[in-house]
Point group: C2
Chain length 272, copies 2
Amino acid sequence: MQKTVAAPGSNHMMKIADSREARGIIRTGEYTGHTAGIAPDFVQGNLCILPREAAQEFAAFCQRNPKPCPVIGMGSPGDPALPDLGHIDIRTDIPRYRVFKDGQLVDEPTDIRKYWSDDLVTFIIGCSFSFELPMLQEGIHLQHVARNTTVPMYRTSIDCVPAGRFKGKMVVSMRPLSPADAIRAVQITSRFPAVHGAPVHLGLPEAIGITDIMRPDFGDPPEVSAGQLPVFWGCGVTPQVAIEAARPSICITHKPGSMLITDKKNSALAAL
Amino acid sequence: MQKTVAAPGSNHMMKIADSREARGIIRTGEYTGHTAGIAPDFVQGNLCILPREAAQEFAAFCQRNPKPCPVIGMGSPGDPALPDLGHIDIRTDIPRYRVFKDGQLVDEPTDIRKYWSDDLVTFIIGCSFSFELPMLQEGIHLQHVARNTTVPMYRTSIDCVPAGRFKGKMVVSMRPLSPADAIRAVQITSRFPAVHGAPVHLGLPEAIGITDIMRPDFGDPPEVSAGQLPVFWGCGVTPQVAIEAARPSICITHKPGSMLITDKKNSALAAL
């Protein structure tokens, strides 16, 4: 029983500044759309739920690859709460989920109560929304935000450090910036190690296996102006690609764009 | 009466770790060479001495252009001491000086006691030696250090913010770095705002009016490898160029490479 919400409802959600209020509406199933722009001062996170037998290996994979896989929340086995991120029930508090069995997408429900079990472990991975806000606040132009498109993402030739069955290439997001903005962006995002941190690369896409920045593997093609450099950050799609390849018996993620809204302020993630 | 010192003496100087010991030898006139590598833990500075009537304008020029002109010491009119930088007599404590009258080089003495007057004001400008050491300590390869050449420097199309008679284009130094090292270098040098701080530009030399990075305006041509980006920092030659153009009645600088060794540790300049 999925409810979809018409444009007026979505517009209403965009005006909600409080994370608890937004999550309360999502919990009822009334809102099932994207979370970009909702409660913008608060940290949003990517979801990965895995069976206990795979969870420790996945935790090690994230620990070894903090730039693409920064863990900002981890549940106890069987416990749907994430008390350090807010009063959260991970079974209901995301607008729309994706359920994979043996690597195959089998469902896109608005809650996962019927899939939950004592065997499941929740991971919340930091997201670039948290560092884009401080960049925008300093006047840095982000083309995908201005054009309301999805940031372009690319599979690279950079190997992640493997952990058991979890391995693969790093996926990166790209923001074209003027050289001065690129330098400022390194400074700003260095303050946010919990949400991908500093760029992993800039200026020479071919050096990390990207042959055409106008043809991203995920997201929308960018608009790149003369005098801009491509600047690349580790991307939260990296763990999703590693999980897909590992084909665990069950895996539950958020539907791309429909993320967990936490009660943690973005500013609280600043390292200094 | 200038004494020059043979190679054994120079090699001896290179082994001196203590700033006061090095400055004591320089004060006697016994050592008149370059200071790179001497007492490497201590801040070295560029010298500009100007008549009082030009000094306040020059102070404003530096204040408005902190990246190329970071002031780390300023004397009282007529006072050759710089107590916050050490027990210094600026008339004797630099290996070799340059004296300009109305913009013309008239002398290269080893002390300036005969030129000193109550009308003169000393400025010490930070130098990139202080931020190169922490880059080297983190394993970043600097081609001009490895090859024992002078860092390449370029006149750019970037206008300095003028202050009275002092104006002109920014001069930058350039270090070719891999993209990953460029990102790390932004982080490291951002900690040192008192010695040029973060880069002013990277990746696209033509955007700041540099047509050929292999033909620097000052210093030696660089060795640039495939996969490296040119990274540009504000350079202490900028105030020298502005002073030359302003043609004050008298100006005394250090001879390039023969700088003031202070008692301040490089690490003390770190902002965080």
